[in-house]
Amino acid sequence: MNVNVAAERMKLTVDGRTVEVRPGATVLDAVNRLEIALPQLCKDHDRAPLGACRTCLVHVEGVRGVPAACHLPARDGMVVSTEHPDAVRVRRGVLDLTLSMLTPSAERDGFGQLGGAAERHELARPTWTPLHQAPIDGSKSFFVLDREACILCGRCAVACDDVQHIGAIALLGRGHAMKVGVARGGAMATSVCTSCGQCVATCPTGALRPKDAAAPIARRVETTCPYCGVGCGIELGVRTDHRLAVMADDVPVNRSSEGMLCVKGRFGTGFVHARDRIRTPRVRRDGRWHEVGWDEALDAAADGLARHHGRFGALASAKATNEDAYVIQKFVRAVMGTNNVDHCTRLCHSPSVEAMLVSMGSGATSNSYQDYEEAGCLMVVGADASANHPVIAIRFRRAMKRGAKLVVVNPKRVELCDQADLWLQPRPGTDVMLFNAMARVIVDEGLADADFIARRTEGVGAWHTSLSEATLERAAAVTGVSAEHIAQAARWYARPPVSGSCLIWGMGITQHTNGIHNAHALLNLSLVAGQLGRAGSGISPLRGQNNVQGCGDSGCIPTNLPGYQKYDEPTLRHFEREWGLRPPAMTGKVVTEMVEAFLSGEIQAMYVVGENPLLSEPDLHHAEKAFDQLDVLVVQDLFMHETAEQADVFLPAAAFAEKEGTFTNSERRVQRVRKAIDPAGDARPDWWITAELAKRVARRLGRDVSTQFAWRSASEVFDELARLTPFLGGLSHARLDREGGLQWPCPTADHPGTRFLYGETFPLGKARFIPALQTAEAAELPDPDFPFLLNTGRLLYHWHGGTLTRRVEGLMELAPRLEVAIHPSDARRLGVDTGAPLRVSSRRGELTGYARVTEAVRPGALFVPFVKLADSAANFLTNPAFDPASKIPEYKVCAVRVERLTAA
């Protein structure tokens, strides 16, 4: 057989040097391979060429003229010159004209890449003068658009449209009048721009540039974003003054984010340098804080905690690393003699996790982000991905561009509704009926995956009987969604036009008193349609915190040991052998139960790490009363937040950019967190603090655990976690550094990681159908005294309660005050316009906010984000009633009344 070698590799000569490229490469690729400095202003290194700037001009032997290298296909044997006098002369002319479009400015330090190229072509001053003068558009909080420096290459428009799929920026007009602008031609801030900064990162001339003073960057450190559960790769710039640059860069090789970022990841790391970071340990004496050394603080904390061995609870942080979480749970179990350790998942996805454990035997997202893009139908339920998981929302938009159907189920008109093929708007609390009716359509119309059900599941009979009530007519009456729409959604989900279907859900499903029923109804739907266990399908609870997956994996849950292992005799013995101490066998308390146990005295000492329960618990007045009962409260965090104010000892922790470790994201990918700068003041990594505390508490209890808590680095902690957790067994910091993030299960050092779960089997063997019942819609519904239904959720520009984002100036500019979304008809009745001050009160408390009149909410409903701004927080209002199975509070529904306040 004759193999054409030329087709595999092509050999070119560039400036007298030989270079090999693959078929399909351009001449510019060959030039860049040799690292020859050739201007290429409009070329983003990981995007297709635009061919707009005409600066990468070269000479090719036998080719007429001076073609642009970016659009010239490389061919075997080509002889290319970047230095040929013709190429240099014409290129210099183009650079001269380009530079002539621009006006130098004192506010700007040169023209980025263009400045360098002009210098190399000995262009000190352009020959021509600019035709237009345009003022700087400074309407965005993090960056400016300075059209005096814009060369109309269009990279920003491509970044906005093709990378982020936002579509805010376009090139308007033609000829001399052409300019970068937005729809309606107004200022940037009037557009749909989400401040993600993708355009700023790609701009070659600094026309789009961050607002902070450009400081020299000493080094760049690749790490993982500290905000949501998507887990994007970010590259921190460390300035010569040891501070982080305001803008982080994206990481194109990161497999979870592929070079995409949102506003928080790009511009939100400034909290690390906040003026009110606590830099020294503190001990409270006579009601006042005293700054002390680590020894004194740790001894004070240990004295207190040792008094309450067994009457103790800990709240770990889903914002900290796997290593931090592992050490905390080991301390709680091995030293404090209790399994009372939990984290914030209780308040977000515990119903999902509990339901998935019962149905399948594992509590993780089954698919990868890649599967969203390969799916033929995406059903997104109770999740505002554009605000809370922006980079996942980009994946959805990419899928839709490929032709996937998007079905959105949400009582609130979130941004995705406007892009959806079908939007179902059920009445809050009626989700079970909705999904049961869809399941019935799938069965009745013969769309069920009979083979999958027979081979891979059990319990279908009893479940099928439980659907008898869920007729389309009845479901339409209960949910308020038309029978036709329910049936259409079911058909698309069961039989998408291509590939499989992904089911994606958020807090809208879980934060209800019937949360676990909601989750089961969804899981049943995926089972009856057989939409999991292969590429392009799967079930995804969208995780909120950066490491909420990892915190549970590492064992910070009261129901399971690390790796979700049970408290059975062989496992306990195994841990005892490894630890030299036996973990208790009795299930511990979840966080909401712990708070109740403060009141009964069952728990008298509490260790809270990187959490702020006095902002995140429902019914805050009640929670404050409970915390008052504690004898000892030790808080370990970055800031003196609401909970820390009540503490006896405050231990200052290092932020994500100040320590080594790993985070595990929503697609089970374990990724490295790397130290970029030294901790602020005396702050220390959480794992170190907890280990020191553990040794001191143990000593007071007459035990020596110095060998069990003797790690010298985060990497050693990870090795112990991996040794005890079979699905992490093949991972180590060294391997993650070498190969990038890997997805568990990854049991051995040569295992490549796992893209999707349940391909062959379920951890339980067969998956179980669990009948889900439509119970009362909510524990508290509107009545004459409290006639409005309050819904809570999150915002793009703030992170959960806001402890971090309130300390990032630009984010505060974008969302400075608490807004109460209200329907125009209700606003009319109250006589309020957008911006009017309102008082919202429930049976438990009240808050002050500002009206935002919008059709995004239904008449009779209000929406308030749960961020705390100016002492107003939604959780003063919310109802602590919880789901009996998973113990999640009903944040999503409570009854309130709203009054207009006269402007002060």
Binding site: D161, A168, A170, G173, R174, V182, A183, R184, G185, S191
Partner: protein, 160 residues
Amino acid sequence: MSVQSIAFSTGQLAEVRRLQGLYPDKRGALLPVLHMAQDTFGYVSLEVEEYVASLFGLSPAHVHEVVTFYTLYFRQPRGRHVVAVCHNLSCHLAGAPLILAHLKERLGIDVGETTDDGRITLQAVECLCACEAAPMMQVDDRYEMNLTPDKVDRIVEALR
């Protein structure tokens, strides 16, 4: 024109779908659909841009980009008739400046403006490929050639 009135009829929507089906990527039909919108709603307002964007699943900014690039989309209300005088080389040499000045005086408007009664919008445009009969102008969709001021008067008179 109120915002509510911006919607194609059922028949027009079928035509939009037919046009979209003619191209590998449906956005290829953007130009003809924008022309349909202009004919239906009189001109391409910002609201019309947004409506058309929604028919294509495109961002309003992208449609704004297209509309501002081409000169045959009117972004302001235009008169019932559009008189477009060629001012390119052949017509210029054959007396187009005189024709244009005459029209401006007779109609009492400048180039780019519309008469108060909404009858006529006046434009000056580039070559319309009828140099053999210069000076010439386009009135709505027909050519008027070998113009003189008298001939222009008669043509304009006939426009209602």
